[in-house]
């Protein structure tokens, strides 16, 4: 039984990666988008290295949120168009797990890579080294929650032709707690305060999302596909 459950999860994880490797363009897009958005901020602000250092972390967080949001639409839409999604729903034995496999694969292609790239982006914003660590840990804990929550929106809008804006309206308000605690860690750090409680809160949100979101995603897919 347990082996079967794990099998479903790993099968979908592997298949997602297989598909993404065949389609490297869409794999790279969110990463490029992430960098471009973050680098737009200095152009719109006065030239001031101290200011950049202050806002750098927040800017990178907002860029990560937007890059995650941008990549959400493709999570289920391709599967919906070619009919694999309805096959998945019919063989619904472990639907939440199959969905979780897809979401984890999706996160490892967006959130994980974004987190790994963030230290380099920090250099452009003149962010000090001890803060780069805080930002990295925050992104690693926060972005999986973003992807899990976003997948609910992606599932709800999968049948719509232009679901992109609707996903943003639905999902962005739900992203606020993660953004607050993730970016808040940085300002705590600057003031020399303890950041452990924010780490715990982000981890708690992640655990909550990890346990509840797959069921919500599965229910949303069942409700909208017909």
């Amino acid at each position: 039984m347990n082996a079967l459950l794990l099998n479903t999860l790993t099968l979908y994880f592997r298949r997602e990666w297989q598909l993404m490797f065949r389609n490297t363009g869409t794999l790279v897009q969110p990463l490029v988008f992430f960098v471009i958005i973050a680098l737009l901020f200095p152009f719109s602000l006065p030239v001031d290295l101290d200011l950049l250092e202050k806002i750098g972390g927040g800017v990178i967080w907002v860029s990560a949120v937007l890059a995650t949001l941008l990549s959400l639409e493709r999570m289920f839409h391709g599967d919906y168009l070619d009919g694999t999604l309805e096959q998945l729903l019919i063989h619904h034995r472990y639907l939440p797990l199959a969905v979780l496999g897809k979401v984890i694969a999706h996160w490892s292609a967006t959130g994980l890579l974004l987190s790994l790239m963030s230290p380099f982006l920090c250099l452009a914003f003149n962010v000090p080294v001890e803060q780069i660590w805080v930002l990295f840990i925050g992104l690693m804990l926060g972005t999986p929650s973003l992807t899990l929550l976003g997948a609910i929106g992606a599932a709800l809008t999968v049948t719509l032709h232009r679901g992109g804006v609707l996903i943003a309206i639905i999902i962005l308000p739900l992203y606020i707690p993660v953004l607050i605690f993730g970016a808040g860690m940085l300002s705590q750090q600057v003031q020399g305060l303890e950041i452990l409680s924010q780490i715990y809160t982000l981890a708690a949100i992640l655990v909550l999302a990890l346990t509840l979101a797959p069921f919500a995603i599965a229910a949303a897919l069942k409700a909208t596909i017909n």
Binding site: I152, L156, T159, L166, P173, L174, I176, G184, A223, T224
Partner: protein, 260 residues
């Protein structure tokens, strides 16, 4: 029969009657005017007492009187969201048509209350903080709540097929209500500029009675107004949804004949 089971039976029967669109429509025809009259009387009394009888605040002067709109609107904005989520959950679990109607009809009303709370809060803030907007916890939470309402409404109208729209909207409302406490807590942590809770602080209300009475009247007035507006909106939606059914056709023909 003991009173408990009698009450239970009554509630059970009412629930089942309300579950049918036709029964709901008939019941709502009687309840709507009652709610309307109660709302009118309560709001009138509350406004009179609040604006003319209640003493001016020793710090804020007469400008505090906006509380009689701001606090009820803010209360209702949360209450309506919880109502939507509850109705949505009932609709999803027991496949009850009327629950979805109640949920979707409540959404624009709740959004309006939220917008009203935001606008009055902003107007109130101008003399107190010297600015129209501060990023204080409750005002920010209220703003996020407005976005949640927009999400629910936008989801419903994005789908052509009504059954799908209802389910998608309901699911979003339920997800939202799980996250609302987390949002509230996070915003609270993020900013703690605002004054403490005014109405029901620990150890009883801190407001004097002649200030508090109009506020309570206004809150109940707002609630009845919400009920009144909800019944009207839900009746219209029921008529539209069931326009192909026999009873609506008969109803419409009878009405046309009587007006001629």
């Amino acid at each position: 029969m003991n009173p408990v089971s009698a009450t239970w039976n009554f509630l059970y029967k009412t629930y089942h009657r309300l579950a049918s669109p036709r029964e709901f429509y008939t019941i709502a025809q009687y309840t709507t005017p009652v709610f309307g009259v109660l709302a009118f009387v309560l709001l009138l009394c509350g406004a009179y007492l609040g604006l003319f009888k209640a003493p001016a605040d020793y710090q804020q002067g007469d400008s505090f009187r906006i509380i009689y709109v701001h606090v009820p609107a803010a209360w209702l904005s949360l209450m309506v969201y919880v109502t939507i989520a509850t109705a949505a959950a009932i609709g999803l679990i027991w496949r009850m048509k009327m629950a979805f109607v109640v949920a979707i009809c409540s959404a624009p009303l709740g959004a309006t209350f939220t917008a009203l709370a935001l606008i009055t809060g902003s107007i109130w803030g101008k003399p107190i903080w010297g600015t129209w907007w501060t990023w204080d916890a409750r005002l920010t939470s209220e703003l996020i709540l407005l976005f949640l309402y927009f999400g629910v409404i936008a989801t419903y109208y994005a789908f052509e097929e009504r059954k799908t729209a209802e389910k998608a909207m309901a699911m979003l409302a339920v997800v939202g209500v799980v996250i609302v406490p987390i949002i509230h807590y996070s915003v609270e942590w993020w900013s703690s500029l605002h004054q403490g809770a005014t109405v029901f602080a620990e150890g009883g209300p801190r407001m004097p009675a002649d200030m508090l009475t109009p506020l309570i009247l206004m809150i109940f007035g707002f609630m009845f107004f919400y009920g009144y507006a909800l019944f009207i909106a839900a009746q219209n939606m029921v008529l539209n949804n069931e326009r192909k059914s026999k009873w609506v056709r008969e109803l419409v023909t009878v009405n046309i004949n009587t007006t001629h």
